[in-house]
Symmetry: C2
């Protein structure tokens, strides 16, 4: 039996050994294997860690293996561990198979002691740097390896600075730092119960054990639990030679991208510093120089680097972001990884690489973050502008805009019509405000969430919206708002970024939307690949047309309540609600019928025979009435100020109706089909309007509309059965009157847990299901979106209790299980049932991936998310989507 | 091959043939088989119906079989079909295996025509009766067999009455009725497109076919779907000789019970009428005579009947309710079935039958409706009092009471302390009202639901409560209330029945609670049999003691918020909520700590070492603050009426805090562990109070309290993990301070769908789960109890869309599936986890049966439901519970 091998030189490994070497180790070995110069070293395998975790001891033979690999490393580098003249210094880093950033421990500059520090000082010609490195090493070693509270070292540093009158760490001299090393070692002795180990080999043994142990520290365990990473994998340990770019005029350091990360152009792009360490670049103390200047200063190094650039791209087949250090005229690559890039660059690089044959179309699709497409559709803040945000709220609708502050919708309309740029700032919005939105560049509300009227309408129109900006306090005079001590007056310019939720004072430069030919090209690749259909949520013909331009294949959700909210209709809606008898109500419904018919005609025309799913009225009726508190306070005011008895009586009637309809928990109240069941005349009017519109559009265009009528909030099959009967009776009557045949489908939203667990019963009465994952999330999690966002949910996500907002990313473990269950149950009894999703998750990549995996037919999202959804659906089909995600 | 047999004489069948003969047919055959005289006849099997359903035709040979059984029947009865002198008349009734009352069709008096009607007139000496029977037969035949709208016959009757100036049907003479038969036959001819069939044999064929068809009528299909009855069973058809009790002085009719149904005493009990039909007894035109008088009038018949009484009890082994008819001195039993009885009678009969050895204890347990026990614990309206209710509301807490109306809690307290009987009537209650409840006989609220403070507290105290009596409108002066036009003033006497929700004017006589020795006897039998534990929901030591007297084995739910609501604590609670900083909040929490500790000491003392499950604070904090509308209106009032700037500023601060905490959907907002996670100091105070109390009670009594700490509203495992850590840290600190060991458990409520579908993850951190089925019903169904009851849910149950209120009977198809799933998932990872239920379903028989079947460990219910739960749990164990139930 051969002894198990626990240590690999970089030259021995490669990407195929990732489960033994971890991600970082495998990558270093990979670079070595293709001849890229990396600071050499070796990897101690995850197997060794697993053994250590179980037994608390190194496996048999590990020490000897380390000895022999260390000897080899000394031979390769020409440096010796503990050599006072030219000491070998090492970094010791964890590296597990799955990335766990910051969860485990690292030790740098290992090998320093009172003797070798002098060698470092000499070879770098920088005693201050040497002693600072030494001080940091003792601190890190004490903390990571010996478990000493790092605050003790921090306190000693502060004390020293006070003694010598230094303000910043950089004010300390080499002598000061040398003195600190003495103090640090004393501290270490006191608190660790042992002296600082001068022997580098002992340092190494202790450090490797500490990294092994860090696999089982608490935060790493929680991280693994949150990310579904098995506990028994262990981490590898990378032991690597330290290199220094600050050894003089033949040394240096830099970062580079193999292509331009801003534009995607195929050019070598980067920055470097002569005689400097990597941290100098980051710290910004010295101004880095463009990479091209390296060509003049060190032409051979530059040529080598450019060769490496091509080699790396050819090998990794993607744009790379590299770090390099030049030590005494020798180039070392410290790291290579796929480079981050702007949305435009991502498109450009993918198209270039596909067209040059470097990658396939399928690979090209996988290289583009779906969210990047969304960025390209909206103006953004100019990335070069470095503005400080004044405050922030929820990123309710993406895009950036600048404008003058106005506080009323009427003012927004008046000024907007004059061609002025205004931003509407409101406490919260109600239906009466919506006309102001048409003329504003964007809208900001202090209250309200992602589903407020303002947010929904703004998303449909592609206008930026920030909701729930709770620090924005509008003065009751309505002439200014404050954020803390800052007052912003009417007509002051502000800039908002709906993609991030940030608000800025003044005009911050914007970058325009960047739709290029690449955009369409990539989306057509996506369409060739994807399995999921992509529809849109659209309430108006304009929304519908825009969504079709973006490639929507139908309307997955038309919310008829937004039609009721329009200013000229609201009085009819209110009369209908205030009606005391069915007859009276029918009179007012008849007044609404022509409006509704016209709405639907517009939609059917815009969609030209593509499917149109119309949801019958869903919200509780009190949403169409004024607020209960407001009308009560008005009544009190009228009483106090001596209004006439008639006026008071009228107001009392209004208060009584509002109180009667007022609900403790409207989300769980009289809404959805509960309205249609109690007042069937409302749904009957809507179905009649839909079918009359379909008949009219068919008559004028000759195209047969694909009508899909959706009953909301079904929890019991009998509800759907009743509403299906009502729908069929009404629709068939219209078709008989018109003497035409238009096929139509009847289906329901699945938005209650009960609907999901009894989907087999409900599916017997449904031609289609659309998962209303907004509401399904609310009921499954018991989260009212209005009350969660900005309150406990924000607390949860900030604290990391939840990894993601479940209203943005579908909660696959909870809500997703109900969706999967409903799919299984419904298809079992009704194999041809069409299944889609129309919650906002329909426009979010990880959720789209889930929809693909679970086997839905289509996703539906807001018009501006359609391109994103097409791409995400393609990635899901290529199994390059986000994969299973967990919110907890 | 023998031809299949489709027709059975009663004498050929018996209970074992129920699936062929249906329930009614089998029972008639059963009585025949034990020698009970029933009007003879035969049964056409369900098989024949199934054949007819499939093919639309009689099966081969059925007509011939009917012919031969009809011939036999003529022989037995001595009457002949169509004989003008002594005609055989038949009833044709459906009778399926599962009872489907009123769903299918019946035809009576078949065999009548213009000739035989004269024979009937002669044999009964009552021409009016004969023609009335004939008229009814034509009507019924036209409607049921030929599908004619019965309104047509109704209109003809009305017209005839108008012609002859008759007000009532009974004002019509024999001649009038004879004329009507002519008109009816004409109508039938016009609308059925055929003449009335004079031939009795043709009548029979058509009627049998019509009954077959009625199996597939729409209402029967829906009924079967609602009741999970298969569609392919078919119905049997019972063809039976009609008998007449109105043939003179040797005829009669009556009903009887084999024991006294009011008291359970073993005595023959009933009523009869000489020379009368059954409908005469029901119609109440003639006063029935006590059964004992039959002994004088027809001693032989009485003796025969008394013999049958004993035979039936011996055979059916339960108290029977029988109908009988005497035709020409011959006794016929028309029906026997288990008799309905009062709660007291049910106990008495069960105990008597068990003690006499007629039935086993297990059978005895199955004979008592669990709800009956609940009746016995509370005063009821005297069943003899025939009061008309003024109005009604929700039956929020059972029991009846009379008292004088008062409108404030203070007045209730003042008057109650003087020993007066008062009933507190409130618009709705808030925590400030609760002290008034202690002194009131009962409470009525216009608003609020089954979970309002008043309802919960009243149930705990065993006081009657009617909530949501929406017709009760209290005048703003607070001196009277109105219901429609009726005004009820302060000090007027009213009577309320919390078991039915009805309210009466004046003093209606009450019957006292009726706990007898039988009560305890039966419950001890139940304890021997049941598997489920029975705990109580109790918030006070008084509740706990009462529940223990009723047999509770622990506290399954102590809601700590009710402790916060007490008057002397509310100011501290409000200060705690208004606190701006953690430090400030901790100061006020420290003031609450001694109160809480005292609360828990009381509970631990009362339970003497039995388990006590304490739920940490659950409701949203704004529940402890005044109402948002009220404080806003107050503020407006203060502004209008010139209050001082300081007062206004103070009120504005209150309004701002209430607004800040105000939630759109508090049920889905910041409550449960979301409080504990954001403000851990609140839960820490509660845990400290619990553990200090446990230490104190252990020190004083030597008994170790069984502490179970329950974290509410967990949806994500990480929430429970965090709260478990907080609990353990706090509890262990207390135990260390006191230097004692008290084991304690930490668990959670399962009250969110997400908790149910991820129960395997959550169970890793839980010692127990308690299903909070009130909230789980709310979220699973999307029903806010406050907004559903009295509104759409009441509409649904009244319309039969839902068969039961899912807050009363567990929705087994929806919520129940989640409970079962959570049980499977949790036990799979944590086999010893203790599972219980603490929603109100824990005190409802069909839900308790479900809990037994699904394998929970215990149910927990309000103190007064404990006896019921013990019995229902025993029935569940004996598989005599309600079985699977469906709400839809």
């Amino acid at each position: 039996m051969t002894a198990k091998k626990y240590v690999y030189d970089f030259a021995e490994g490669g990407a195929q050994l990732k489960s033994l070497l971890g991600g970082k180790g495998a990558n270093l070995a990979e670079m070595t294997s293709i001849g890229i110069p990396v600071p050499q070293g070796f990897v101690i395998t995850t197997d060794a860690c697993v053994h250590f975790s179980r037994t608390g001891e190194y496996p048999e033979g590990l020490s000897q293996e380390i000895d022999s690999h260390l000897a080899n490393l000394q031979k390769i580098t020409g440096k010796t561990f503990g050599d006072p003249a030219n000491p070998l210094l090492l970094s010791i880093r964890s590296g597990s198979v799955f990335s766990m950033p910051g969860m485990m421990d690292t030790v740098l500059n290992l090998g320093l002691n009172d003797t070798t520090v002098a060698g470092l000082a000499q070879s770098t010609g920088n005693a201050r740097f040497a002693y600072d490195s030494y001080r940091r090493f003792i601190n890190m070693f004490g903390d990571v390896v010996l478990g000493i509270d790092p605050q003790l070292f921090e306190d000693a540093l502060t004390a020293k600075k006070a003694e010598v009158g230094a303000k910043l760490d950089t004010d300390l001299s080499a002598e000061d730092l040398k003195d600190l090393t003495v103090r640090y070692k004393r501290l270490l002795q006191q608190h660790a119960g042992r002296s600082f180990p001068d022997d580098p080999r002992e340092q190494l043994d202790l450090a490797v054990g500490a990294v092994f142990k860090s696999w089982d520290n608490n935060r790493a365990k929680v991280y693994r639990q949150l990310n579904n990473i098995p506990d028994d994998l262990g981490t590898a340990v990378n032991v690597q030679m330290m290199v220094f770019g600050n050894k003089g005029e033949t040394s240096g350091t830099g970062v580079a991208f193999t292509r331009n990360p801003a534009t995607g152009a195929s050019e070598f792009y980067g920055e470097w510093l002569l005689n400097a360490q990597g941290e100098d670049v980051v710290a910004g103390v010295r101004l880095p120089r463009p990479l091209i200047e390296l060509k003049d200063v060190m032409p051979e190094i530059y040529a080598e680097l450019d060769g490496i650039r091509q080699k790396l791209e050819a090998h990794y087949r993607d744009m790379q972001d590299v770090e390099f250090t030049i030590e005494d005229g020798k180039l070392y690559m410290l790291q290579t990884r796929n480079g981050k890039r702007t949305a435009a660059a991502a498109l450009q690089i993918a198209v270039d690489m596909v067209e040059s044959g470097m990658i396939t179309k399928e690979e090209g699709l996988g290289r583009i973050e779906p969210d990047a497409l969304d960025q390209l559709l909206h103006p953004t803040l100019d990335p070069k502008a470095k503005a400080e945000p004044l405050t922030s709220g929820l990123n309710a609708s993406p895009g950036a805009a600048s404008g003058m502050v106005v506080f009323t919708a009427n003012e927004a309309e008046r000024r907007g019509e004059l061609g002025e740029k205004v931003i509407l700032v409101r406490w919260e919005t109600n239906p009466d405000d919506i006309h102001g939105l048409v003329y504003a560049q964007g809208v900001i509300t202090s209250f309200g969430g992602m589903t407020s009227h303002a947010a929904v309408v703004a998303r449909g129109m592609g206008r930026p919206c920030i909701a729930g900006a709770s620090e924005v306090k509008i003065d009751p005079t309505g002439t200014y708002f404050t954020v803390g001590d800052t007052a912003v007056r009417e007509n002051d310019w502000i800039t908002m970024d709906g993609s991030t939720g940030r608000i800025y004072l003044g005009k911050v430069p914007l970058a325009p939307p960047q739709i290029s030919g690449n955009f369409d090209k990539v989306l057509h690749w996506a369409d060739e690949v994807r399995v999921l259909g992509v529809r849109t949520n659209a309430d108006t013909p304009e929304d519908a047309r825009r969504a079709r331009e973006f490639g929507a294949e139908g309307i997955g959700l038309c919310r008829t309540e937004h039609m009721f909210m329009q200013q000229e209709r609201l009085p009819h809606v209110r009369n209908m609600i205030m009606a005391e008898t069915t007859e009276d109500r029918e009179v007012h419904l008849a007044e609404l019928l022509p409006f509704q018919r016209e709405d639907f005609e517009g939609l059917f025309r815009a969609m030209e025979g593509l499917p149109v799913t119309i949801r019958l009225l869903d919200p509780p009726l009190h949403e169409f009435l004024p607020d209960y508190v407001t009308v009560s306070v008005q009544l009190e005011h009228m009483k106090c100020t001596g209004a006439s008895p008639e006026e008071i009586a009228e107001q009392e009637k209004l208060v009584a109706k509002v109180k009667q309809l007022h609900e403790m928990n409207p989300m769980l109240g009289t809404r959805g089909c509960r309205l249609g069941i109690q007042w069937p005349e409302i749904y009957a009017m809507q179905v009649r309007a839909i079918m009359e519109a379909a008949c009219n559009v068919m008559a004028e265009s000759g195209k047969v509309p694909q009508v899909e009528i959706m009953i909301p909030l079904v929890g019991f099959w009998v509800e759907l059965k009743m509403m299906r009967e009502l729908t069929e009776k009404t629709a068939d009557a219209v078709l008989a009157e018109r003497n035409v045949e238009i096929p139509y489908k009847v289906g329901t939203m699945i938005e209650l847990p009960r609907a999901a667990v009894t989907a087999d019963e409900i599916a017997q009465y449904a031609d289609f299901f659309s998962f209303g994952t907004n509401d399904l999330t609310q009921t499954t999690l018991g989260f009212s979106r209005d009350d969660a966002e900005g309150k406990f949910l924000t607390f949860y996500t900030k604290q990391g209790i939840l990894k993601a907002n479940p209203f943005q990313k579908l909660d696959q473990d909870g809500v997703g299980r109900l969706v999967a269950m409903a799919k299984e149950k419904s298809r079992a009894v009704n194999p041809t049932i069409k299944l889609g999703i129309c919650g906002e998750h329909g426009g979010e990549p990880s959720s789209i991936d889930f929809c693909h995996r679970v086997g839905l037919n289509y996703v539906s999202c807001s018009p501006f998310r359609v391109p994103l959804a097409r791409l995400a659906a393609a990635q899901a089909a290529l199994n390059k989507g986000a994969g299973p995600a967990s919110n907890a």
